[in-house]
Amino acid sequence: MVTRKEKMLWALYGMVLVFLFLLSSTNLFIKEKETQVYGVSVIIEDTSDDNYVNFKKGMDLAAMEFHADVSFITLYDKGSKKQQEELILREQQDGCKALVVSPVDGDEILKMQAEKRINVPLVLLNSEAGAAGDKAAGAIGFDYYHMGQELGLRITEEQKGKKVYLFGGQNPDEVSGRFRDGILSVLEPAGYEVVPQKASGEGGWKAAAGEIAQRDGGQAVIAALDPVSLAEAAQAFSEPDLLPEIGGLYGRGTTVRLLNYLDRGVIQGLCVTDDFSAGYLSVKTAAELAGNQAAEGYGYLKSCFIRQEDLRDLEYEKMLYPME
């Protein structure tokens, strides 16, 4: 015979069980913190992400850590201000909470912001306008002018008195323009003959490199202002014995292809940038700003000049081949 006391105990057990179930399986008592996901649109100035591989790795990591839903958007035509403007407006209309823009023209983007056409937090990438004026909510990038100066100095040390051909940057974007100015600020006062090279179409830089090698041989140095023209020039010299050697091939970029050329000795020196950190910090800043949190503005990130022997250096290895 079950006593009244026992019945009450069973009922109590039952109630405890129900309570525990509600506690563990529902959010009736313990409210689960809702994770807010912020839409962040990253709009670059290029038509492909070839030069953004490490950047995207950093971007993906930050997206996971800071709960950002990142859309990486390229232009339909390289360097089109109009398209970039349209994409910025489109992304805002579609509800993105913050923008990361590598501008075709930094001043134009800041003008859009001043006119209140950009009404979400904006992080500018690689733009002098953003870095200098502190007008964007965040500005992240590299000091390309300083990088150019560094390259100019190396050329004066290693290639005394040789003729320097500048490749790329025919329609100079902000980045290659500043890089070129940095190089010229060193080479011109030092009395170097600097020739801006012209080329057209795919393979144009390769052909130009071949002509220079045939004409000037060891007395010529090529300094490429962008990764595309550098890769094409390197391709021309990657087949041994096909062309006479030139004095040296230099440039900037961090793609695996360029690093392979440096490793093979086709490129003599390369200005490299910490793209992984740029990707990570830009999305981190954008996500923080989207969540109305205080975010550091950042500024110039690490860049350096490396040679073939530096590739095995642990410091550069971590920067150039980041683990995801």
């Binding site: 492909s48 390229t74 339909y76 489109r90």
Partner: protein, 340 residues
């Protein structure tokens, strides 16, 4: 009484019609309103050259579609880095981010069921590509599609490159003149059906074509250039002067073998690949690779994208794709040899 019953039924019927009509209109409104779509793309390994080519073409297709139709296409491309677990998580993420359709290049074709379960629960159609899930999985739902190139066809075409060359000039392949073409074989992953089929049919085509062959050795290089290079280097040391032909399951491995040949400064060895990747085609043009089999990447990616967009927009899949059994698309292939 009877009249009253009929009256009530009439009202019920009329109400039902109104509800149906309204729900129909709502659907139409939805279809008209769709101004942006989101496609989740998961790649088995982002550093695979062929897959990377397809990825590039998919991005082009998305841009063209955006420009042509005014519909925003968000391509969320993720690299599974060769891990099925990572890919499963990516599928979950795509679903939680509200992807309209997923394009999946499975890491393990035999482990697609978990992804299919998730897709079915969330009612998100899936376009698999390059690695075909097993038939039983594909038959589970009518919203599963597959785009690929037929492995047997690739292999037969690869074999015929060698057969044609041998018929033209036997000495170009049989370098030591012993009447037999001695070959080594570089194979893809053992778990990939294409790897097995490519090997089997390529060699069978050589035999059927009357090429006297002798296998020296073979190895699995998992489709990778670096692994193929290491294997080839080893074989060049083990079998000096004996290798006359390298049959490779894909272009990346052929390029790896070329790297090893260049390092060893070995000459007179012919190589054939499959895929027609950009570096593979360059190697053919420069004469380092005897030939490759190329599927039209534009068409390949175009088919993936077309199915994905049609499903995302809630439309019927376009007729011109002529899917086999309503779900399979095989991309045509062709031989690529150096232009004379």
């Amino acid at each position: 009484m009877e009249k009253r019953k009929f009256g009530r039924a009439r009202w019920l019927l009329a109400g039902l019609c109104v509800v149906l009509l309204l729900s129909g209109c709502k659907g139409m409104e939805k279809a008209e309103e769709k101004k942006s779509i989101r496609i989740g793309v998961s790649l088995y390994r982002g550093d695979d050259t062929f897959i990377n080519n397809i990825r590039g073409e998919l991005e082009k297709c998305a841009k063209e579609y955006e420009q042509g139709h005014g519909v925003k296409v968000t391509l969320d491309i993720q690299d599974a880095k060769g891990s099925q677990n990572i890919q499963n998580n990516q599928v979950e993420r795509f679903i939680s981010l509200g992807c309209d359709v997923m394009c999946i290049n499975p890491v393990d074709r035999t482990a697609a069921s978990a992804m299919i379960d998730k897709a079915m629960t969330a009612e998100v159609p899936v376009v698999f590509f390059n690695r075909k899930p097993v038939e039983e999985d594909m038959d589970r739902w009518d919203q599963l599609f597959y785009v690929g190139a037929e492995a047997r066809e690739s292999a037969v075409l690869q074999g015929s490159i060698v057969v044609d060359r041998y018929r033209e000039d036997p000495a170009s392949l049989d370098k030591n003149g012993d009447g037999v073409v001695s070959y080594v074989l570089l194979e893809g992953e053992s778990s990939h059906q294409d790897s097995l089929i490519r090997t089997e049919w390529s060699i069978q085509t050589l035999k059927d074509g009357g090429v006297p062959i002798e296998k020296i050795t073979g190895g699995i290089a998992n489709w990778e250039r670096s692994q193929a290079s290491a294997l080839m280097e080893q074989w060049l040391e083990q079998y000096p002067g004996r290798i006359e032909l390298v049959v490779c399951n894909n272009d990346d491995m052929a390029l790896g073998a070329i790297d090893a040949l260049e390092r060893a400064e070995a000459e007179g060895i012919n190589l054939v690949g499959i895929d027609g990747t950009t570096p593979g085609l360059e190697a053919v043009e420069s004469g380092k690779l005897m030939g490759t089999v190329s599927s039209d990447k534009e068409q390949y990616a175009g088919a993936i994208f077309a199915i994905a967009v049609d499903k995302a927009m809630g439309q019927e899949i376009r007729q011109e794709l002529a899917l086999e059994n309503g779900k399979y698309y095989q991309c045509p292939q062709q031989i690529v040899e150096k232009n004379p």
